[in-house]
Symmetry: C2
Subunit: 564 residues, 2 copies
């Protein structure tokens, strides 16, 4: 790298350190300590009240802030402290702007005191943001290329639309987080707090680990092709394949998340790869420790009429009738489908068990559960176009293709034509129609007169990913438990079900495999390695049924709690 660039990176890092209060810099455990999850609460920096704050779910937090029991100043300072501690552990932050956040918090406290009214539905809630969402006066240096040193020193002249709406809603944007693949030339590598020798996955990896470590109550990630319901993947991740993908922290940290329908949360004024491509639209969504937090976010954002700012956002407020499952028999006789495997990669034992646990809990609660028959998870649509698409996108941004990423088809280096793209788009349209008909056809099995109300499925075939190469072909198989919903634009939540228990989740033998790749994925499973790792599932609904998807996740949650 040229000396001048190295110098600019050093200056940027110095600025980051300068904005970090020295009094909050506790001595961190040595690098050899891999599991640092417990550290924030034992390091001595946080008092009991601050620990209580961090362990409060978003809905309760909002209540306490709205009635003035807790002040915006206190809660903001509390989360900021913990965010700095978390950052020291896993290098998850990019922009630190504590003065702005505390000034904002003071204003919110004054407003509540003077008027007796909250500023909005997210009054005084701290929000962490993936480093794509521009904030006036701050740099956005971290996307989408692996070498974006040239962006250092470019200060945004206005907020992203979502940031403006969050401000209107009374929220306190307070940090921005590292991506993509949680590694880049400026901020380096974000690690996984569960095992710091592992990467956190991505692309919203910085966001995932920050919220997981309770360094913030609610984070905003983005999703393009789908590592997680709150993690960007495929195209974008492939676009910036900064390192091997060691694990999917976003999947193993037990958060709740929502990949909304693409038109619900505004995507304007952000730094995003592949601008102008409409093939799969990027979406922003919440990541937090409760499904109530997901609901609070979605309700606030959609009621702020984001379509008056971003044309691609649909003219649809949060609909309480739909949340109350008006189109699903008011939730009385729900029938869920479970997809045990997708016909491409059989999931690891703990994931299968999590589905069994969920099925039993739902049946105990009086709901019907049927099997989902997987279709088209092998995705001609991706294999046909992915390599070509990657080559286009990398050549567009002129970035490097990292050596750990294998491009199997080097002939695909030429850009595809608009006509070829239309053929891919036609395949996507056909796939959407096929899935729609497939879903409708389940009406014959439910006994409710409706097709299945939601589908529950793995979020990935494993609770952590192999140390293998991040090759495109492999990736298209890894991510096909999530990316299919991106192609279809179906909203999907992520919710935690259980944790890995080596006694219950022993390696099963014999195990069946679809092919050698599937076998390889299975063979990297080791119960002891992933002991206690949270196991999450997805709940998937149909386009624009975000409200119903949130409500049904609450129902599944309640059933799981009751069955324990």
């Amino acid at each position: 790298m040229p000396k001048k660039q190295i110098q600019r990176i050093a200056e940027k890092k110095q600025r980051q350190i300068k904005f970090t209060p020295q009094k909050w810099l506790v001595s961190s455990p040595p690098d050899s300590t891999l599991d640092v999850i417990g550290f924030p609460e034992t390091c001595g920096l946080l008092n009991a009240r601050e620990i209580e704050v961090a362990n409060t779910s978003v809905d309760v937090l909002l209540e306490k802030l709205a009635c003035g029991k807790w002040t915006a100043m206190d809660v903001t300072a509390s989360f900021y402290k913990r965010a700095i501690v978390s950052h020291r552990l896993v290098n998850c932050l990019t922009e630190i702007f504590i003065d702005n956040a505390l000034t904002r918090a003071a204003e919110l406290d004054d407003c509540l005191k003077n008027t007796g009214k909250v500023v909005g539905p997210l009054h005084a809630l701290q929000i962490s943001l993936k480093d794509q969402l521009c904030i006036e006066g701050l740099e956005t240096t971290n996307a989408p290329s692996v070498s974006c040193v040239s962006w250092i020193g470019q200060y945004a002249e206005k907020n992203a639309v979502l940031v403006d709406i969050l401000m209107e809603c009374g929220a306190v944007p307070f940090v921005r987080t590292n991506w993509p693949e949680s590694f880049n030339n400026i901020f380096g590598r974000t690690t996984n707090p569960y095992n710091r020798s592992l990467a956190p996955g991505g692309s919203s990896g910085g966001e995932g680990v920050l919220v997981f470590l309770k360094g913030g109550p609610l984070g905003i990630g983005s999703d393009l092709g789908g590592y997680g319901s709150y993690s960007e993947g495929t195209i974008s991740s492939i676009l910036t394949p900064s390192q091997q993908l060691y694990s999917y922290s976003l999947r193993i940290c037990g958060l709740y998340g929502l990949r909304p329908s693409s038109s619900r949360v505004p995507c304007g004024g952000v730094v995003t790869p592949l601008e102008g491509q409409d093939y799969i639209l990027p979406v922003f969504g919440p990541m937090t420790s409760s499904i109530g937090g997901v609901k609070a976010f979605m309700k606030a954002i959609t009621r702020a009429k984001p379509w008056l700012e971003v044309p691609l956002t649909v003219r649809k407020k949060w609909n309480e009738d739909e949340y109350n499952l008006i189109d699903h028999g008011s939730g009385k006789d729900l029938c869920f489908a479970i997809m045990w495997d997708n016909g491409v990669v059989v999931p690891h034992p703990p994931i299968r068990r999590s589905m069994q646990v969920t099925k039993a809990a739902l049946e105990k609660a009086g709901y019907k559960v049927v099997d989902w028959k997987p279709i088209k998870h092998r995705w001609d649509i991706w294999s046909a176009g992915s390599a070509e698409e990657i080559m286009i996108t990398t050549s567009v941004t002129g970035e490097l293709i990292i050596a750990t990423m294998e491009l199997e088809n080097s002939d695909a280096a030429d850009s595809i034509t608009a006509y070829q793209l239309w053929q891919l788009q036609k395949m996507r349209r056909d796939l959407r129609k096929e899935y729609l008909d497939h879903w409708e056809a389940t009406a014959s099995e439910t006994g409710t007169g409706r097709p299945v109300d939601a589908t529950i499925c793995p979020a990935a075939p494993f609770v952590a990913t192999p140390r293998g190469k991040n090759s495109i072909q492999a990736m298209s198989k890894y991510i096909n438990y999530t990316a299919v919903w991106n192609v279809l634009d179906y909203p999907a939540t992520i919710f935690p079900v259980t944790t890995v228990d080596p006694n219950l989740d022993a390696k099963k033998s014999p195990h069946y495999f679809y092919d050698g790749f599937n076998k390889g994925i299975y063979e990297m499973y080791d119960p002891e390695t992933f002991k206690n790792a949270p196991v999450c599932l997805q709940l998937v609904g149909r386009t624009l049924k975000d409200e119903a998807v949130v409500k049904m996740t609450e129902i599944v949650n309640a059933a799981l709690a009751a069955a324990k």
Copy 2:
């Protein structure tokens, strides 16, 4: 053309004649009779009752059919007769299937008699369809290429989704109509009943003249780039430039039409050009003699939940609250904007007068009217990509580029790349944002606290088009009063205001021009040539506000009626 193809065309035409009842073939006026509008009612074939039926608006027709005062059989036979007469005059039909239609009508009559209930909200309504909407057992030979002889003999195995929904709603599909540009190698040229030496424009030209001649109560046209709110244009019309565009019959025939938001009316199972392109989505919409008919159609189709059949259709039923202008002060203090000209082509005197008449009527009725400031009608977005796009689309289908269409930029013959397409799509996205902000900014002028509720503007700069060349550059200027709303995906109605009156609509001198092209357009205006031609305007709302757009058109209509 090869002999074999000529033979196949002859056979197809013979089949059309075979399905035409000989008893309805009255002797038509000689070709030298140019204006044939009055012919159907004076030819002697139709009795007083049949003439009454044809002159009944859709909403009244539906009432009479629902209560059994008129039978489906009688009304279907009545319209079929008049459709055949119309066809003999202007060659507007492609598929004639009277037996199917009468069998269907008999079933509907039986059903009403036996159950006392209508089959659906469009019970027994005759619907004519542009020859894109497949019907089981019929050929669809007429699109999108100028030479689709090879499609002769291919009988559809299922209905288009819209046809299925129309059947569910109780409608009677009864004829299909000629396109594109209302000329093709099989069915030849459709002419303009106002002046048979002129073409009817297109691409839904067959549909337009059939409904204009009252050969059907409601027709379904399609729209891609926008000659009319119910007429396909730009890409598609350019795709199949079968002849010079002599006139826009769809504009001069005084019908009501709606170009809905692209996701409201399902576009599945149809024959459409450029499958897979999502740049501008094709839409289907109604054309009829009353705004009540437009409402009845939209209400019925969206309440049939088309999103359960076509994934791109939005999950949104007709919303009566929105129709009642809940977001527009319940319609009490509406503020309309008028776009007097678009900054590219100044409209002809009768169009300007129609806006003056509308403004006066609205003000008399107590509404506020402000001026709309035109932006970006010169369309870098089109000029940048259109020539390239045309070349792509023509090379895709392999069709001929007709000699009357000039491609100014022959270097553009190569296909553009996916990346270049994304740049166009980014421009479109930027344009959408710019228009959104522009519309929002009008809030400062309305005095209602809202931005303008709707914009009223010309549908074209003239009541009929010049005999000039159908060159791309010219077309991009002709159609920019409509195509901009396609790019933005704003719903727009067409409604008739007045007719050309040579006394009131004299050529104005001096007249101002933007450029030589504009001057050329003006110079072809001649009050006597277009004497008595209906003059229509558009009423435009914002994406997904179809309900409000229909209601506000009713309001404008009432104001115009009251002012007379």
